[in-house]
Symmetry: C2
Subunit: 355 residues, 2 copies
């Protein structure tokens, strides 16, 4: 899923070029490219699909030249993750009804690639040929209040646990309680299921979306697809896959397509970050002796500064003196300087400038 | 005098476009233009001369279209203010031996234009037809350690006082003593004298410079001037007019060109600033409720920030949050963020970046 517009990383990430299309870590690959690379050893390019906004399709094609252009699906407008997943599931089901899918965001980072492959492999083995839905649960390393948590229930098979409930982003005390109790995992938004299961789940829980998908599907793989999608996709309700499917499957027995179904969690520990905050970016970047980190191609000199995270592009030169714990981000002829502790207000800051 | 390269205002002022050629105050006129404007009601354009580096001659001509091109003198290299003043004095003396001159830097600012005109008029009346040298002394408003001071002696005539001594930039305690005692003035580098006096003074105190000027003068106002100047000017010693003439005249009787001579000071209070520091620029710019000031064409929003001075060009947008007393200057693809209290180290900061 590569359609997001990433407002929290303004001015680095902005509607013209959101976060997934940027080499934020300075490793020579954008986050989208790193995501595809991560699966590259186990999934052929022709089995890689990207759903994105129509506005970004060319950028996706440019960054992923090995992915067949017909595997890049364009949403004419944003309708959240359920219609997004439904679209690609209906497309794949039409040609590969027995396929299993890994659904993933395009702007996360994983440190331990080998462990990631092992977990994905174990997860696919669990779902393949069943109507089960599996989500990967990140072992929490701190009481982070920025993530939803997955509360696990009984053991299912191997390392897989049943999901007891999906919990909203908690306040700090609750997050601390989750960590103290154990059995809670961060929801990374990564799902594994057979494509048939995805289709059955949408059909069961969001029949209007399914109806629109059926109508769209009559023109799939023809020259009429683009117009039909442009016409019908916007009629979909705006809903996340979490609300549409995951939460409705959690904590009780259910059937899908005539078979037993449930939602499960596979705990994982592969050094995952959603890079959702400047703080998390700061954590991933390499740092100087003062704890300062730089993303981008600029030349940045720190003088009597500590614990700063800086984004500098286009060979921008910077001298930063006397700053303790700031974000300094320059991009698109816009400079942001703010305290790291106030980064959750960045979206508000961006709205202070005239459009 | 418009040849300086202004390293203290990096990255705004830099060798390619130093401070005097910049509209730092955002008033629609560069500091050079403001300087010429200041004299405009009393001095005709054909009596306005600018000495600058050869590299800046076109920029001067562009910014001062009414000044005759032949009045823009090019130094092939920097030799400080004595050779600079000697060059223009010899040029003017060749055609207008009875002229009186006001010699001034091109990058200062004056608030009270009318008072300025009155002081200049009084000063010219004092020196005209004599061999006296007059400097304007700025009434000190604080114990500033960034200026040389003029210690006055006895009254001469009208508001003019004799100069007792020129004092180097003092440490704070000494500056405080000057203010407490009274009779001390900031040296603004503005001199008034008859051109004949300037020539006589150089001839007396720097005979080698005078000899080079005499040799250059044989080709003045001919097509050979440029080459002759390029050949001979660099042979001049590098010395300021202060050391060469002013200090040698201070505190005792002297004769120049057979007449009594001395150096005098006319105290003045016309809201002068040398704009020599970001701090002084901050003082001159209009400020928001938080005491923040912006120079340039950028769009700058301050959030929970106070007492900052910002330079933003080219429509740069900025959001600055949580900054107390910083300089934020972006120009020439370079960003400087430093504490105002550390601005005297800006030249060092600029040297930290690769050339």
């Amino acid at each position: 899923m590569a359609g997001g517009i990433g407002s929290r990383f303004w001015p680095m990430s902005r509607p013209e070029r959101p976060k997934q299309f940027i080499d934020v870590l300075g490793v020579g690959r954008t986050l989208l490219q790193l995501t595809v690379d991560r699966f590259g050893k186990d999934f052929a390019p022709e089995n890689t699909w990207v759903v994105t906004s129509a506005a970004y399709a060319d950028m996706v094609a440019e960054q992923l030249p090995d992915v067949p252009r017909e595997n890049i699906l364009c949403e004419p407008c944003m309708r959240n993750t359920a219609p997004c997943i439904a679209y690609v599931a209906w497309k794949i089901f039409a040609k590969h009804p027995n396929a299993s899918l890994v659904v993933t965001p395009a702007d996360h980072f994983v440190v331990d690639q080998e462990e990631f492959r092992r977990v994905v492999s174990e997860g696919l083995n669990f779902v393949c040929g069943t109507s089960n839905v599996l989500t990967l649960g990140m072992s929490p390393t701190r009481p982070d209040t920025g993530y939803g948590y997955i509360q696990s229930a009984h053991k299912a098979s191997g390392n897989v646990l049943a999901v007891g409930a999906f919990k909203e982003k908690p306040v700090l005390e609750v997050a601390q309680k989750y960590l103290a109790e154990g059995g809670y995992f961060w929801n990374a938004g990564i799902f594994l299921w057979d494509v048939r299961t995805a289709v059955d789940a949408i059909r069961k829980f969001e029949p209007e979306v399914a109806e629109l998908m059926d109508a769209m599907a009559t023109s799939f793989y023809t020259s009429a697809e683009k117009d039909t999608v442009a016409n019908l996709f916007p009629k979909c309700k705006n809903i996340s896959i979490d609300y549409a499917v995951m939460e409705r499957l959690a904590g009780h027995a259910e059937t899908l397509g005539g078979r037993e179904s449930g939602v499960y969690v596979l705990p994982a520990n592969f050094g995952w970050s959603d890079l959702g905050t400047w703080g998390s970016l700061h954590t991933q970047l390499s740092k100087d002796d003062g704890g300062n980190a730089v993303s981008g191609s600029g030349e940045v000199v720190f003088v009597e500064s500590h614990d700063c995270v800086v984004r500098a592009v286009g060979g921008k030169k910077m001298v930063l003196q006397g700053l303790e714990g700031y974000i300094v981000a320059e991009d698109n002829n816009t400079l942001l300087v703010c305290k790291k502790q106030d980064e959750q207000r960045i979206k508000q800051f961006s709205e202070l400038l005239k459009k």
